[in-house]
């Protein structure tokens, strides 16, 4: 049963992520992106990574996407006030997209089929085990990333302050 659910959800996530790109209305794009994240949450649950699933749910679906939606609703983007894109921009876009595809294909080549036995501890995704891993072997990267986030936060606060007010 697990694999069939996986294929179903995987198909859904590919479908929704395609819809993100192809839908004309930016708000619809965001809503499809939210659905895509929801399917990711289901993937995490299938992997027995409950903590990651819930955190993905809260942080990505519940907070970041709300902010995206928020900004897009405020901007009220539609066809009338969309600026005309120059040919140069389009060419740059195509090149950037092709670079991404090349990278993806390159990384696909080095990937072998997933071996379920690799995951020695199936309960790794539970809160207790994950916490022990994060604050044990991965202590330094974890703390470094938190400092990175903190500096981003401080930077954002600085940007919102007007000059001379600092």
């Amino acid at each position: 049963m697990g694999t069939s659910v996986f294929y179903f959800v995987a198909a859904l996530s590919i479908l929704f992520s395609l819809m993100v790109i192809f839908s004309k209305n930016p708000i619809h794009s965001i809503l499809y992106l939210i659905l895509t994240f929801f399917t990711f949450t289901v993937h995490y649950v299938l992997l027995n990574a409950q903590f990651l699933a819930v955190v993905n749910f809260i942080v990505y679906m519940g907070a970041i996407m709300v902010l995206f939606l928020f900004v897009l609703m405020l901007l009220n983007l539609n066809k009338e006030n969309e600026p005309n894109k120059s040919a140069l921009l389009k060419i740059v876009g195509v090149i950037a997209g092709c670079c991404l595809i090349v990278t993806l294909i390159g990384s696909l080549k080095s990937v072998s089929l997933n071996d379920p036995l690799v995951l020695r501890n199936p309960n790794l995704g539970l809160v207790k085990n994950l916490g022990k891993e994060l604050f044990g072997p991965f202590m330094l990267p974890f703390e470094l990333s938190s400092i990175l986030l903190l500096s981003a936060m401080v930077g954002a606060v600085l940007l919102t302050k007007k000059e001379g007010n600092i």
Binding site: Q50, V54, M61, V66, L69, F70, M73
Partner: protein, 344 residues
């Protein structure tokens, strides 16, 4: 997974759904009655004795009203909005332990739909998802007032989620687990978490008011500034769903507060009851106690609504970011220090 298990869970879900709907229905009645009593009035008393059939009359009225979809509204999203609000309100009940295990015919039945080991985070996720119903509904109405209030709702919810999460972290430091079942089991008898986390409880309570969009934080639906709020364009049962979702949210957050801080189904003297009465009756009494706590919280929600006037928007944001969050962080630090000293 045997069939009885599925039937058992299905029955539990159905009962919970029915209970939340009935409680939401009668919350509308209770709200009007409480408001009336606090203002020296009588409240609705025409439909049935003491007006007890008033919710039914209101429901019939809602159903019979004309369904209007604005011409330029986004039809699909306009319909999804209220449904999403209702869904997010209802699924919170799944992880709350409603009572101790009951034994029927040799089968132990847990009065909890599912005991996931990240129960607290699940609740938190459901709360954060709740804002989508409001935002989608407000945007799809194609109305400036609705959009404004949807944006207000979103920023309010995000701001207060942070303080709420921080207050929960302090609680988790005390409980050492995220499973709601264990959190409740730890609060046996009188050992309620509110005595260990009073500041955390007050912060959580204030945030619960903000998250359920109840007065004094009901800015997303303030009539004087935004006509009706995010549901300005809604009519008939879609409007009913939004209003219902608010009351179910209130019920669920009352249940969460009772579970996290007020011991859930625990009450002083429960051991004595378990020994002398025993059987299935003791857990049922526990469940009743939980519901008494929930009703007390719902009453408190209403009591506060008819006491405190609405905040101004900048006051709301100031309270959230400059008031509650520093307090919550201080609470975490103090709790952590106390626990560290204890274990030292």
């Amino acid at each position: 997974m045997d069939l009885t298990f599925v039937i058992e869970k299905f029955a539990l879900v159905t009962i919970l759904f029915a209970i939340s709907l009935v409680i939401a229905m009668y919350s509308t009645y209770a709200e009007r009655k409480v408001a009336a009593f606090l203002q020296d009035r009588l409240g609705p008393d025409r439909a049935g004795i003491f007006g007890l059939l008033q919710p039914l009359a209101d429901g019939v009225k809602m159903f019979m009203k004309e369904e209007i979809v604005p011409t330029n509204a986004n039809k699909w999203l306009f319909m999804i909005g209220p449904g999403l609000a209702m869904l997010c309100a209802c699924i919170g009940t799944a992880v709350i332990p409603w009572g101790q295990d009951i034994v029927i015919g040799g089968r132990t039945i847990a009065l909890q739909v599912t005991d996931i080991n990240v129960g607290v985070l699940y609740l938190f996720g459901v709360v954060s998802l709740g804002v989508y119903g409001v935002m989608i509904g407000g945007w799809a109405s194609n109305n400036k007032y609705s959009l404004l209030s949807a944006i207000r709702a979103a920023s309010q919810n995000i701001s207060y989620e942070i303080a709420m999460g921080l207050s929960i972290i302090a609680l988790l430091l005390v409980t050492n687990t995220m499973s709601l079942k264990e959190i409740v089991a730890q609060q046996h008898g009188w050992h309620w978490n509110v005595f260990y986390q009073p500041l955390g409880f007050i912060i959580f309570l204030i945030c619960a008011f903000a998250e359920t969009n109840r007065a004094p934080f009901d800015l997303p639906e303030c009539e004087t500034e935004l006509i009706g709020g995010y549901h300005t364009e809604y009519s008939s049962m879609k409007l009913g769903f939004y209003l219902f979702a608010e009351y179910i949210n209130m019920f669920v957050s009352s249940a969460v507060m009772a579970t996290l801080y007020f011991g859930g189904y625990n009450y002083p003297g429960m051991d004595w009851v378990a020994i002398h009465i025993g059987g299935n009756l003791a857990p049922i009494i526990g469940t009743l106690v939980l519901f008494v706590k929930i009703f007390a919280f719902i009453f408190f929600f209403m009591w506060v609504r008819w006491t405190i006037p609405r905040f101004r928007y900048d006051q709301l944001m100031g309270l959230g970011w400059r008031g509650l969050i520093p307090f919550a962080i201080a609470n975490i630090i103090i709790t952590g220090l106390v626990i560290a000293i204890k274990n030292f």
